[in-house]
């Protein structure tokens, strides 16, 4: 018997019931895409922003530097590590990150400095460079330029062209000072970053700290796709096994606050989706059960005429399969325009959360957007499909247990 044909007849000739069930599946897809898409977008955005604040997606650092970031822990020769990393990454940057006192006139503030090579630096991989609002990034690696945050500029009454003095302990723990001249001012929107972060030229800082010509505290590695972090970190670690002085870290280790925040948020997101999935499944179960109960007589007639209980179970499951297909198509039609709008334009939430909303030290984009990774999309469709089939199992079993002699008596 072509159960497929029979299932189609039943679905196409009970259009209202079919469309209602299809719509509830489609609505499930819509919600799942919205939740997952917002997670995929915001987590990726936060991870990329966090990486662009200095340490990259993967970091090859001097052993112990990450646990206790002192300038005495440094890598004299990061060249081989950079060479290996280049084959895996979209950007590899030698960097020094440390803390010092910045003074101008009688005023001074403590701040984190990030020493970068201006010849290599790419704005896409440096959040501060792309946030410069006045002046520009210093051009020379061994020059005396400095790019400071707008908050610090205000505190120290600085503007491009003005001098600022860095006092820092060098690699041997000796206090040392260096004069810099402000070349640019950045404004990220994050108060802590704007008042406590400075970009400095790498070669000049090397000389100041006594790092020689190639020393760094870490090599920042940037990836096109943050999901490759573990794979790239593992490959680097494998190829650097002989180097006892380095450790390979992912952003999860260099930014544990951000990692924890995302893990908790992701867990809540999953729970929310599970809840929504259960509600949708309950809706489908209810519709399928109603459909079976309404058709007790019809199914009873079919069984009286010779359809086996197994065939009846399969019939209901096939109906549910086609309902799943229909629901997926309806879901794509319903969700596509919404997804297109949300991935291109999004909803500006800055009125609700403000322009300067940061979490775990990372600025959060106030525009809610959607981004869906291929595997997330596939997982949604597979989950919705599985839910639809799973929700039909009980009604199908009920249908298979119908006693035709009783069912055909029903009005």
């Amino acid at each position: 018997m072509q159960l497929n044909m029979l299932a189609w007849r039943s679905l196409s000739r009970n259009r209202r019931r079919t469309l209602i069930t299809g719509f509830s599946i489609a609505f499930g897809i819509f919600l799942a895409v919205t939740f997952t898409g917002s997670g995929d977008y915001s987590y990726t955005s936060m991870i990329d922003t966090g990486a662009a604040m200095g340490q990259g997606h993967v970091s090859v650092a001097a052993v112990g530097y990450n646990a206790r970031p002192a300038l005495s822990r440094w890598l004299p020769d990061p060249g081989p590590a950079m060479e290996i990393a280049r084959g895996q990454a979209a950007g590899v940057y030698p960097r020094i990150m440390g803390q010092g006192m910045f003074a101008a006139g009688a005023r001074n503030v403590g701040a984190v400095f990030l020493a970068v090579d201006p010849a290599r630096e790419h704005a896409g991989h440096n959040y501060f460079v792309r946030s410069i609002v006045e002046g520009e990034l210093f051009a020379e690696g061994d020059g005396r330029g400095a790019v400071i945050g707008a908050g610090m500029a205000e505190k120290l009454n600085l503007r491009p062209g003005k001098k600022v003095i860095l006092t820092v302990t060098d690699r041997d723990g000796q206090l040392t000072s260096e004069l810099f001249r402000v070349s640019g001012i950045f404004r990220t929107g994050d108060r802590a970053a704007d008042s406590g972060f400075v970009l400095l030229p790498l070669d000049r800082v090397r000389r100041t700290l006594g790092y020689g010509t190639g020393g760094v505290t870490f090599v920042a590695v940037y990836l096109d796709d943050q999901r490759r972090v573990n794979e790239v970190a593992a490959e680097l670690a494998l190829r650097l096994t002989s180097r006892q002085d380095v450790e390979v870290l992912t952003w999860r280790e260099t930014q544990p606050d951000l990692s924890g925040l995302i893990a908790v948020d992701r867990l809540f997101n999953y729970l929310l989706q599970l809840l929504v999935g259960m509600i949708i499944a309950a809706g489908i179960l209810n519709t399928m059960l109603m459909s079976v109960l309404e058709r007790r007589r019809e199914l009873g007639i079919m069984m009286a005429l010779g359809m086996t209980p197994g065939q009846v179970v399969r019939l209901v499951l096939i109906e549910s399969f086609w309902l799943g297909c229909l629901g997926v198509v309806m879901g794509i039609v319903l969700t596509a325009p919404w997804f297109h709008y949300m991935s291109q334009t999004g909803i500006d939430l800055s009125r609700l959360i403000g322009q300067e909303y940061s979490a775990a030290g990372v600025l959060v984009d106030p525009v809610m957007k959607l981004r869906l990774y291929r595997e997330s999309g596939a997982a949604i469709l597979a989950a919705v499909f599985t839910l639809t089939l799973a929700a039909a199992v009980y009604p199908a079993i009920r249908a298979g247990r119908i006693m035709p002699v009783d069912a055909i008596k029903e009005k």
Binding site: M1, Q2, M5, R9, S10, R13, N14, R297, E298, I301, M302, M303, A304, L305, G306, M307, T308, P309, G310, Q311, P404, V405, I408
Partner: protein, 227 residues
């Protein structure tokens, strides 16, 4: 012999009250018969048809169909037996509402996996026979009671079963339609040798039967051949 009931009883519980719908009945139906089960309401006609049709099981006794003890078969085997060896015509027609007249008539052949070209030939031939060839695309709710019953008869005979069980086949149709249905059943019995066992309490229908099995309170009251 196609059907044999040996000491069959069927007892229902209605609350705490025991209802003996069929009481220690012995009955045989032979190939090619055109027999009627008759008796007043509650005499056990429908229950006997359900027992022979493997839709119900006796409380005691044995039902044999073509020599097979139905109590020895599982649900799946009983389904296949109904599909291959029994045709049903119900009082309330019981066509599948989502299928057209053609699809309803085709249903059992489709269950039997008869190839589509042969299926079409046989379905169209039987719909022609019952005078419903012009209504193949109509769904049950677009047909009159008489037309629905003719489609039901087509569905019952198309697979050439060992026996067609018809439960009050003319009860829900007008006199003219009832005559048409009886003519049709008689013709199929006479020309194609289809064995019919039908229930009725209508005197006009009884007069058309070749054998009358009279029942009262679930027991055999009389079993007489009609000349």
């Amino acid at each position: 012999m196609i059907v044999r009931l040996a000491g069959v009883s069927r007892v229902y519980m209605q609350g705490n009250i025991e209802v003996r719908a069929v009481d220690n009945l012995d009955l045989t139906i032979r190939e090619g018969e055109f027999s009627a089960l008759c008796g007043p309401s509650g005499s056990g006609k429908t229950t006997i048809l359900n027992l022979i049709g493997a839709l119900d099981a006796p409380t005691s006794g044995t039902v044999f169909l073509e020599g097979r003890d139905l109590s020895a078969l599982g649900r799946g085997e009983l389904s296949r037996l109904r599909r291959d060896r029994i045709g049903f015509v119900f009082q309330a027609y019981n066509l599948v509402p989502v299928l057209t007249a053609y699809e309803n008539a085709e249903f059992v052949l489709a269950l039997q996996n008869v190839p589509p070209p042969e299926r079409r030939k046989r379905v169209m031939a039987v719909l022609e026979e019952v005078g419903m060839a012009d209504y193949i695309d109509r769904r049950p709710d677009e047909l009159s009671g008489g037309q629905q019953q003719r489609v039901a008869i087509a569905r019952a005979v198309v697979s050439e079963p060992a026996i067609v069980l018809a439960d009050e086949p003319t009860a829900n149709v007008d006199t003219e339609a009832a005559d048409t249905i009886l003519d049709l059943m008689e013709r199929l019995n006479r020309n194609k040798g289809v064995t019919f066992l039908f229930s009725t309490h209508d005197q006009r229908v009884m007069r058309r039967a070749g054998r009358l099995v009279r029942l009262r309170d679930g027991r055999l009251e009389a079993d007489e051949a009609v000349p």
